[in-house]
Each structure stands twice: as C-alpha cells, then as structure tokens.
C-alpha cells in the first residue's frame, strides 16, 4: 500500500497530462481536467515551501535547545523568520505595518535587508572568480587551453575597451567572434546539449509516470 498507492496516483495524473497535450484544450472536459491537476501541484507545492520554513525553524530550535555550536546565531534566524512572517499574515486593515505591500514591515525588510543581502552574496562571486582565475584555472590539457583561450577572447570582445582594441586588428574580429564563436560553435554545442538534456528529462519523466523511478519516494 505504501508504494502502490503513490505509484498509481502518479500514473493516473501523469498519463492524463500526457493525453491532454494531444487533445484540443477547447474541448469542454480537457482544459478543466488538466488545469485541475496543475492546481493540485500549486496547492501541494505551497505546503512543501511552508514545510521548508517549518523545517528551518525546527532545525534552528533544536540547535538552540541543545546549545549546539553556533546556537546563538540560530536565535537570530528564528527571530528573523518570525519578524518577517507574522506581520505579513495580519490584515492590513489593522495597521499599514501589516500585510505584504508598501509601508509594511514585510516589504521594508525585503527592500532594505533581504534583497541587498542576497545581491551582496552573489557579488562576492566576482572576487572568487578573480582568485580562481588566478589559482585554479590552469591550461592543464589541450582542451583546457582551448577553453581558456576562447574565454579570454570572449572577455575581450564583450567589453567596450576590449572591442575597441579588437577593431584595431586586421579583419573584423568582433564580427567573426559573434558569427563563428557565439552563433557558430557555441550555438551548435548548446543545441547538442539541449537535445541531450531534453531526452534525459523526458526519460526521467516517463519513468516517474510509469512508476519505474521511485527515488523521489525514498526508494533507494
């Protein structure tokens, strides 16, 4: 029962969506049926995100309770979750500080704390790329050499000063790079990878629908 039930559900849901793809969505039943299943994903998916929040609260609370290493910081995590979540759940009619829109604590914290912090986390990557460029990216093999040579050429081409210098050289280098590197070799490889990845994703989807693939259920 623990495995057959989910597998049957997966088959029925999956096959319905595959069949409705080949039916005209204007036929009365087809559109509503497939959208109903799509709605189920949205609703259940919403719960999985809430599950994630509860999980982070639980893990943080356990760390605090057991005074595990770094428990003090986990208090900050818990407080941040609550300070962000609770006001947003309260109706705006009570006070403009509640709800999710302009003037609310939720929006203020997002604009002034969450967004800038997320942007800063990503910005640190520029530093890592510089140090990796210097320490990790080595032309160990012929292929890696070709990778690095193309990389340097493209980095030169993508910026104004670099392009100006390229224009000084004979022939029309920027045109060549755009035409034969980006729209030539790169386009072809991306196309090959897209086709391959699409076949991989379709195969995995087929296995999930037919219940052959059950790792997501926890089957080893």
């Amino acid at each position: 029962m623990r495995t057959t039930a989910p597998v049957i559900v997966a088959f029925l849901v999956g096959i319905t969506l595959v069949i409705t793809f080949f039916l005209n969505e204007k036929t009365p039943l087809v559109g509503q049926l497939s959208n109903q299943l799509l709605d189920w994903l949205i609703i259940i998916g919403g719960f999985t995100l809430l599950l994630g929040v509860v999980s982070i609260l639980r893990v943080s609370w356990q760390t605090v309770q057991r005074r595990k290493e770094g428990w003090f910081y986990k208090i900050a995590t818990i407080v941040s979750v609550l300070v962000m979540a609770i006001p947003s759940l309260l109706p705006v009619s009570w006070s403009p500080l509640f709800g999710r829109f302009e003037g609310s604590i939720y929006d203020w914290l997002f604009v002034n704390l969450q967004a800038p912090m997320m942007a800063t986390m990503f910005a640190t990557l520029a530093f890592y790329i510089a140090s990796a460029a210097y320490r990790a990216f080595r032309a160990r093999t012929a292929e890696a050499t070709l990778l690095l040579l193309t990389a340097v050429l493209v980095m030169f081409w993508r910026v104004p000063i670099g392009e100006a210098i390229l224009n000084l050289m004979p022939g029309d280098m920027p045109y060549f790079i755009n035409k034969f590197v980006m729209n030539g070799a790169n386009l072809a490889v991306q196309r090959g990878i897209i086709i391959g990845a699409a076949l991989g994703a379709a195969a995995m989807s087929l296995r999930i629908i037919l219940g052959i693939e059950r790792t997501y259920l926890g089957k080893g």
Partner: protein, 212 residues
C-alpha cells in the same frame, strides 16, 4: 535625503559590508548577517505562500465558491507535514507523487515537442546557402558541431574509429563553447559586484555630505 532614507541606506550598507567581510575572514558579524538573511528568506515565503496559495487557491475558492473538491489537494498538502514523524512519514508519498507526476506529465511531451523538434529542425541547413560563402561555412560549423556534440554524449559504444574522431571533434567544439560560457560568466559576476559598489559609492558615500 530625509532622516529615514539616510538610516535605511546605512542599514543596507551595514549588512552589505557585513557579508563582504566573509572575504577577509569568517567572523561573528558575518555569521549573524548570514543567519538573519536565511531567516528573512524563509519568512518572506510564509507571507507570500499564505496569501497567494493557501488563501487564494485553497481557502477562498473552498469557502466562497464552495469548490468542495479542493479539500483533496488541501489534505494532501497537510499530509506533507507527516514528514516530521518518521512512523507516518510514508503518508507524504501521495502528495509527492502528485507533485512529480504533474511535472513529469507536462515535461514528457513538452521536452520532446518544445525542445528536441525545433532544435533538430533548425539544424537541417543547406550546405550551399543561397546567401554566400560565410553563411555556408556557418551552416557546416553548426551541423558538424551539433552532430559531434551528440556523439560525444553517446554511451552505447566505445569512442573508437569514426565515432572516436567525431567525439574528439565534439570535445573541441564543447571546449570552445565552454570558453565562451566562461567569458560570459565572468562578465555576469563582475556586473553583480558593480551593482553593490554603485550602491556603496553613490548612495552610501553620498549620505556623508549631510554630515560634513
């Protein structure tokens, strides 16, 4: 610039510098900022999910237009919380099945119809292109590139003989494409740093003129 705006700019600057401090050394201020950040990200979702999914997609239709059948996905959604209790965690398998089956049901068709067919079609180019030598050369590069990439990712035969040569060509094409990728990615990362530095230099340092 009002007092509140200056205060806000300093708050943003504090947390921006706190996170950049990780570059120097992992430190308590960084850890604090990182944990606050993780909490805010989770908290943001609560407000958003409660409003746009639990209420708009489940509660309101159920109560106002009595779409009674929504009790089913609603209950399945609750079953996800069974994960916290090992004995009954298997109950979450049915909602899991729905989530993956919907994604799989849509992807099985759209990956082949929406990606494989158009990408195949656009590679069927004439080697003698009507508009000149450059276009023909480009067509040859594209065709050879696509086929050699596909052959490189072919696992059912050892890469020897003709297959080996094609796969070798494939890896060369792939390395050019990865090189282009590398160049573009460096540009992307640098732009994100520029975004933060623009804030620090233009907005934050800008507030200093109010003090001096």
């Amino acid at each position: 610039m009002s007092g509140l705006e200056i205060f806000q700019t300093w708050i943003i600057a504090f947390f921006t510098l706190a996170l950049f401090s990780f570059l120097y050394k992992d430190n308590p201020i960084y850890k604090l900022a990182e944990n606050i950040f993780a909490g805010l990200t989770a908290g943001y979702q609560v407000g958003l999910i409660w409003d746009t999914i639990i209420m708009q997609k489940l509660w309101d239709p159920l109560v106002q237009n009595d779409e009674w059948w929504l009790i089913l996905p609603g209950t399945l959604g609750f079953l996800m919380f069974s994960r916290f209790f090992t004995k009954i965690s298997w109950l979450s398998r049915i909602p899991l099945a729905v989530v993956f089956a919907v994604t799989a049901g849509v992807q099985l068709t759209t990956q082949l119809h929406g990606l494989v067919l158009p990408q195949m079609q656009s590679t069927m180019l004439s080697v003698w292109s009507s508009n000149g030598f450059v276009a023909s050369l480009l067509a040859v590069v594209t065709i050879v590139g696509v086929i050699s990439t596909l052959i490189y990712f072919y696992f059912s035969h050892e890469h020897t003989g003709a297959l080996g040569i094609t796969a070798k060509a494939g890896i060369w094409f792939i390395m050019i494409s990865f090189g282009a990728h590398f160049g573009y990615t460096v540009m992307g990362r640098v732009s994100l740093l520029i975004g933060r530095v623009q804030f620090l230099v233009e907005d934050w340092l800008g507030t200093f003129q109010h003090f001096f």
